[in-house]
Amino acid sequence: MTFPKVLSPAAPKVPSPAGSGLDGVETLGYPLGALPSVRGPPRAPQIDPTRCDLDGACARECPTGAITLRGPGQPPGISLDYGKCLFCSLCVDACPHQALSSGPMEEMAVLDRSDLVLVRGAPTPAGAPHALREDLRKRVGHLFAGSLSIRTVDAGSCNGCEVEVGALSWPRYDLERLGIHIVASPRHADALLVTGPVTRNMRLALEKTYRAMPTPSFVVAVGACGISGGPFAASAEVEGGVDRVLPVEVYVPGCPPSPLALLYGLWLALGQVEQRMVSGELRSPPRS
C-alpha cells in the first residue's frame, strides 16, 4: 500500500555548536528520515524461546501482569503483552536463564490490540481481520496525510505521557513540520490522543470530548495506561484502558512512550509507514 508522500525528508542535521542552542538544526528528520540512534540502555523485553524453561520468574516479578504463563491443563506456553508492559526490565533481571533481553521500543505502535501480544510455545492465534481497518486507514491517510489536527485528553494519567506528548512541539521533534497540529478544541480535531487509564471521574468528560469531534475521526491510545490501565488496572477507580470506552484505532505502548514512539504511532495512523509489530514480534523495517 502506498500513499502519496506529501513531504520530503528534512535537511540533514547540522551539529549545533556547544552552548547556545541557537545555531544549527535542532530538529530531527524522523519519521521522514531514519530513526535516530537512541542513547541509553534499551528497555523492551524480548523472549528467547530456546532459553526459556517457563519457570515463571519473570511473570512473578512483572508489576502489571504483562507476562503470563499458560495455566495447568493447557499446552505449556508464555505470553507477553506489550500493551501492559511498563518497560521496567524487572523481568529481564529476574530470569535465571537469561532468556529475556532488552530491545528498542520506538516503533512498536500497532493498529490492532492483539498485535501487541507475543505468545510463545503454542501456535500464534490468528489476528483480527485487517480488511475493514485497512479500508478506514486508506481513507484516513487520504484525508489527513497532509494535515492532521489532534486534540489530547488526559484521562487520568500520571502526567508522564503529557511530558512526552508536549515534547512533540519542542524544537527537536517539531510535530508541525509533518502537517500535524495539536489544537485547543475537539471541534477542530480529526484525532483524539488519549492518555491515562480512564478514571471513573474522567470517563464522562472523555466521552463528551469524543462526541464533540466532527467525523471522520479516530482515537489513539497512548501508553500502558491508555492501552490497558497499566499499573492502575487493578484499581476500582479506573476503567482500565481507552478501548473500554471508545473505539481505538492506534495503540502506542510505553511508560511513557517516547516522542519518537509517538511520532511513529501518528505516522502509522496516517498510513505513511507499515506496521512493524506483528503478533508481538518486531519485524525489520521495510525498505523504502
Binding site: P63, L86, F87, C88, T152, N159, S169, M202, A234
Partner: protein, 551 residues
Amino acid sequence: MSIPTREGEESPPASPPPTLAPTGDVWRRTRAEEEDLLLRLGLGPTRWSLGERMWWVSVHPDGWVAACEQVTGPLGHPLSTLFAEDVQDRGGGVQVHALFLGNDPTPGVHLCCPLGEREPKLPSLGGTLPYVVPFEREIAEMFGVEFEGALDRRPLLLHETHPRPPLRRGGPSPPSGVRAPYAFTPVEGEGVHEVAVGPVHAGVIEPGHFRFQVLGEKILDLETRFGYTHKGTERLFEGQTVGRGTVWAESVSGDMSVAGGVAYAHAVERALDLALPPEVEEARGLLLELERVAFLSGDVAGISLDVGYAVGAARANIQRERAYGLLQALTGSRLGRFAVGVGGFRRPLALETLDQIPGILRDISEAIQALFDLLLDKSSVVDRLQGTGIVPRWLAEMLHFLGPTARASGLRIDLRADRPYGAYHGREVRVPRGLAGDVLARLTVKVQEILEACRLATLFHRSLNGGVAWRVPVPAPNSSAAAGLGWVESPRGELLVYVQTGTDGRLQRVHVRDASFLTWPAIEFAVRGNIVPDFPLYNKSLNLSYSGYDR
C-alpha cells in the same frame, strides 16, 4: 556522608535549657531538647521513631486540637501532612496521623490519634489551621471519619458515592455510579458571571476544573475542583512487596518520577534501618538534579510561551530535551523511571556518557542564563510578568505553600538545606528567594534553581567516577511492623512518602503527599483582581501537579 544517628548512639547534652529562640526563619533544637520541650508542654509519653526520624506521641481525640496547636505554636513546626490508617487487623479502628517536620537537627513530631472502630469522630482543625481542610475532606471520604465542626464537608477526590469508604479494610469498594452532590460557592451581585474551565483544557495538560467568578474582566474569585485523575493509588500499594511499591511511587506524578522513587526508597530504607553507601546516594542525587533541570526548564518555556514569546519557549525546551537526554542515557528512561529502587538502584546506571555530563550541564546553564537575560530585555515580556498573579508572603506562610512558589514569595524553605537527606548531608545548597511573589519572581527563582541544580549535578557526577556499588542487600523483612518516612525536595517542593509495613513484611499503608496538595490553593488567591486570559500564565508559573494532588 553522615548517616542519621541510630538510637542510643547520640548522648543527649547534659542539661541545656530548651531554647525557644528562633534562628533566622526556623527553630533549631536538638533531638533531646525537642523531647524535653514536648514533655514540658504535656505531650507525652514520647517514643523515638527511627524510621521517621521524629518523636512519636499518642494523643486522645479530646486533646487532639490542643496538641496540634502546641506543636504548630510553641514548637513552631508547620503541619506537614495529615492522613489516616485502618488498623482493624491490629485490634483498633481508624488512626489519624499528623506529621510535623522539623528543620535539622530538630526532628519534628508525629502525633497519632486512635479513634473508635464505630463512627470514628475527631474535632476539626480547620478553625486554627485553614490549610488542613483538604486533608480532613480526604480522610472523611476515604475512611468515613467525621470531623466535628468542619466548615467544608464536600468530597475532595471522589466524584461518585461509594457504598463504603474506599480505604477502609474489607475488600475493594468500587464507585456506585451515582454522582455525589457537589456545590460550588456562589458569588452573587449585579454583573457577576461564572466562567467554567475544564476538566479538559486547551493545552497538553492534566485535567482539573476551575470555576471563576468574574465581574467585567476582573476575577473576583476562583474555586478549584480536582479528583479527575484519582486512580486509588494509595490503595494499590497495600499488600505489595516493598520492592515493587516503587512502580506506584514513581507514578504519583510522572514528571517527578525520580523524586517519587527516591522518597519512597528512603522511607522503606529507614523503616528497614538500611544505610546506603554515599556514592549510591550521590548517584540518586545526580538523577534528582537532572530531573529538576528538565522540569524547571519546562516551566521557563511555559511561562515564555504563555506570554506569546515563542522564541524563548523553543530555546528553553531545547535545554529541557538535553536534560531528558541525559536521564535517558543514564537510565534508559527519559523520565528516569524504573532506575531507583529500595537498597540503591534497580539496575546499574549506564555510565558511558558520564564524562559528557559536565559539558552538557555547563551548556544548559549558559543557555538558560542567556535566555533569562533575553527575557528581561523584552519589555513586552516583563510587562506581562511583573505584578501578575501575586502570592503574598503572609499568605504563603499562613497556608504553608511549598517549593518555588513559597520561595518566590520570600520564604526560604528547601528540604535539601533544612532537613538534608541522602546526598545532601553536609552539602551546601544555595536556596534562592524572591520577594514580590509575582510571576516574574517565580520565573527568577526557577532560573536560579536550574543553575544551582546544574552545579549540584556536576558535583554529584564527579563522585561517581570511581564506580558505584549499585545495590546493597535488602534485609529480609522481619516480623515486626515498621514505619518509615521519606522526604525529598522535588522540583515542586517538599514531597513526603510515609510507609507502614506489616508483620508479613509487605506494605500495609503508604501515604504520598505531593507539594501540590498544599500549594494548589495558591492559584485561587494569585488570580484575584487579575484577568481570565492570563490564567494559563499563573497556572504555568505555579505548575502544580493534578495527579500528585489526586493520586
